[in-house]
């Protein structure tokens, strides 16, 4: 099922009789509008359109009996392949403990997602250890501690000295995990703006100490045009390995998914689909493509 604008584009092409370069351009313009309506970043849409154009302007498509159908299929296939073709697993490789670090803007769902990942890996037989280096947000430590407690999983509690020096806390947590055979170590970080140079630098230092298997960017699915800016800076300054998109239980079309993948080149591995700790799904690129298009 397609958005009104894409249906209009199809109707337009069907009504044109002969398909030419000119009316294909017009149809692609309608597609551009449909993508903008789905909150895909304006510049990402333009790049995407350029990628589609060549395939759409192919002789076979233009001569086909159902050019509109063909174009829509090209769009859907291209979108799905951009969003990631195969299911991507978490990186739990190497000498234990494996380490995950969750990063992103304020309120995107990092702390909750830490819990969801812990529950997921513990169902796979792992023994995760949670630690939070968010010493700023009121009750951030409590929040992750309660989540761990509700899941019957281990939480590394920071001492007063560690609260003053989170980088030391990280080293101690790794050591503790190693000694007590916990893996993965799941590190929750404070939300921060990509334009806050000091906090981005702090995050880089933490990553260097932690040497994580996964640096997971936790992004809110209802983000609009700004999705590219923040994801891009996190990728440039910290380096990401994967993405988790949250709040997909809402009705946002989720164009941020395409924007974030395009600008970081990193795969979306999971989708948050609710507040409960079992509400994490493997990311399905084809379903996301349909959602963006419809």
């Amino acid at each position: 099922q397609l958005s009104e604008r894409l249906q209009k584009a199809m109707k337009f092409l069907r009504g044109e009789g002969k398909i030419t370069g000119k009316n294909m351009e017009e149809a692609l313009k309608m597609m551009r509008m449909a993508f903008l309506e789905a909150d895909v970043n304006y510049k990402v849409v333009k790049d995407f359109e350029a990628g589609i154009k060549e395939k759409a302007l192919d002789e076979k498509v233009m001569q086909s009996l159902t050019p509109a159908q063909q174009v829509i299929k090209i769009i859907k296939d291209e979108l799905t392949s951009l969003l990631g073709n195969e299911e991507k697993k978490l990186d739990l490789s190497g000498t234990p403990p494996s380490k995950f670090m969750l990063v992103g803007l304020q309120g995107s769902g990092k702390t909750t997602t830490c819990g969801k990942l812990g529950k997921l890996v513990s169902k796979q037989g792992k023994k995760p250890l949670f630690v939070s280096i968010d010493i700023k947000r009121p009750a951030a430590q409590d929040q992750l501690k309660i989540i761990a407690h509700n899941l019957n999983l281990a939480f590394y509690e920071l001492s007063k000295e560690q609260m003053a020096k989170p980088t030391k806390a990280i080293k101690n947590a790794i050591e503790y995990a190693r000694k007590q055979a916990f893996s993965p170590l799941i590190v929750d970080t404070a939300g921060r703006l990509h334009v806050d140079e000091e906090l981005m630098e702090e995050l880089k230092i933490v990553r260097d100490i932690l040497q994580p298997n996964e640096v997971i960017y936790v992004g809110d699915a209802m983000t609009g045009q700004d999705a590219v800016k923040s994801a891009q800076v996190f990728e440039e300054k910290i380096g990401l390995t994967s993405i988790i998109l949250t709040k997909l239980d809402g009705d946002a079309r989720g164009g941020a998914a395409l924007s974030i993948v395009s600008v970081t080149g990193k795969p979306i591995k999971f989708a948050g689909v609710g507040e409960k700790l079992d509400q994490l799904e493997v990311f399905h690129p084809d379903r996301m493509a349909s959602r963006i298009l419809g």
């Binding site: 309506e37 803007l105 309120g107 409590d142 045009q225 700004d226 709040k247």
Partner: protein, 275 residues
């Protein structure tokens, strides 16, 4: 210097791109640009056209009063919105703002669901020296609000600030819960809640309008507070909300500290939007 129709279209295209990149949304942008096309001289250059656009946007955003109570006490405020938008932090900021005038402010931690939600507000209450009324974790939020309202009346306090749990606007049960909370308040205190603020993250795209519509329908809304404008998001999604739902933008949040809240200025907002 020959001026051609092509230059004018290029100017309008550039402004279209600016608006789209600021999350104004495609339909609202088309409407605005069409109006600019009609209201600008055929020979106008970029600075003049941009000025017309500015004036038009400021006019749209200033239409409904941004003036805030409490100029009458007792005053009851409710904070609603989807998950993670900044409700709890914004409530604390407003408590800080109102406290300057020596009023007695009670905070209500009615998010009994999310881990450490009540603890979060309790810490803010200690910092701001405002009592916090909370309930058992997992209790019915409506009962926490009911108790808080009784306490508020008994103490003859001036301002009651009610924090609610984040919720997805398409979750009917949670939206009904919000409606129930509002009904309890209005039944117990005349004309209350005096203000129901939708706390909206400035980086949200088109979904902001659906959110506003649903919260308006279930809990009612008297205004919007746009948060996280200290980031790079422009918050353009509020324009369609103001235009369609006739809601004023009361404040903007520009940081995580209690002082990072300012009354909304349409001029400043539009200037930043178009920069």
């Amino acid at each position: 210097l020959l001026y051609s129709g092509k230059d004018r279209e290029k100017i309008l295209d550039d402004l279209t791109e600016t608006l789209l990149l600021s999350d104004v949304g495609i339909e609202t942008t088309e409407k605005i640009i069409q109006s600019i096309r009609v209201h600008s001289e055929k020979t106008a250059l970029f600075p003049e056209i941009k000025k017309i656009l500015e004036k038009e946007l400021v006019k749209t955003l200033s239409q409904y009063s941004s003036e805030v109570k409490p100029n009458t006490t007792p005053s009851v405020f409710m904070f609603v919105g989807v998950n993670g938008g900044g409700k709890t932090t914004t409530l604390a900021k407003l408590a800080h703002l109102f406290k300057k005038n020596g009023t007695e402010i009670l905070l209500v931690a009615a998010d009994t669901f999310r881990a450490a939600a009540q603890e979060q507000l309790v810490i803010w209450g200690k910092r701001l020296n405002c009592p916090v009324i909370k309930g058992q974790h997992g209790a019915d939020p409506a009962s926490v609000v009911y108790d808080a309202v009784q306490s508020f009346k008994a103490r003859k306090a001036d301002i009651l600030l009610i924090d609610t749990g984040g919720r997805i606007h398409t979750n009917v049960n949670l939206m009904n819960e919000l409606e129930k909370i509002r009904m309890i308040i209005s039944r117990e205190i005349e004309n209350a809640p005096h203000e129901i603020y939708l706390v909206l993250d400035a980086s949200i795209g088109r979904n902001a309008l659906s959110q506003a519509r649903e919260f308006l329908k279930f809990s009612g809304l008297t205004g919007i507070i746009l948060t996280k404008l200290d980031g790079t998001a422009k918050g353009g999604s509020v324009i369609s909300i103001v235009d369609e739902l006739k809601l004023p933008i009361k404040y903007i949040g520009v940081g995580e500290r209690e002082e990072d809240l300012f009354p909304f200025s349409a001029q400043e907002f539009v200037k930043a939007l178009l920069s």
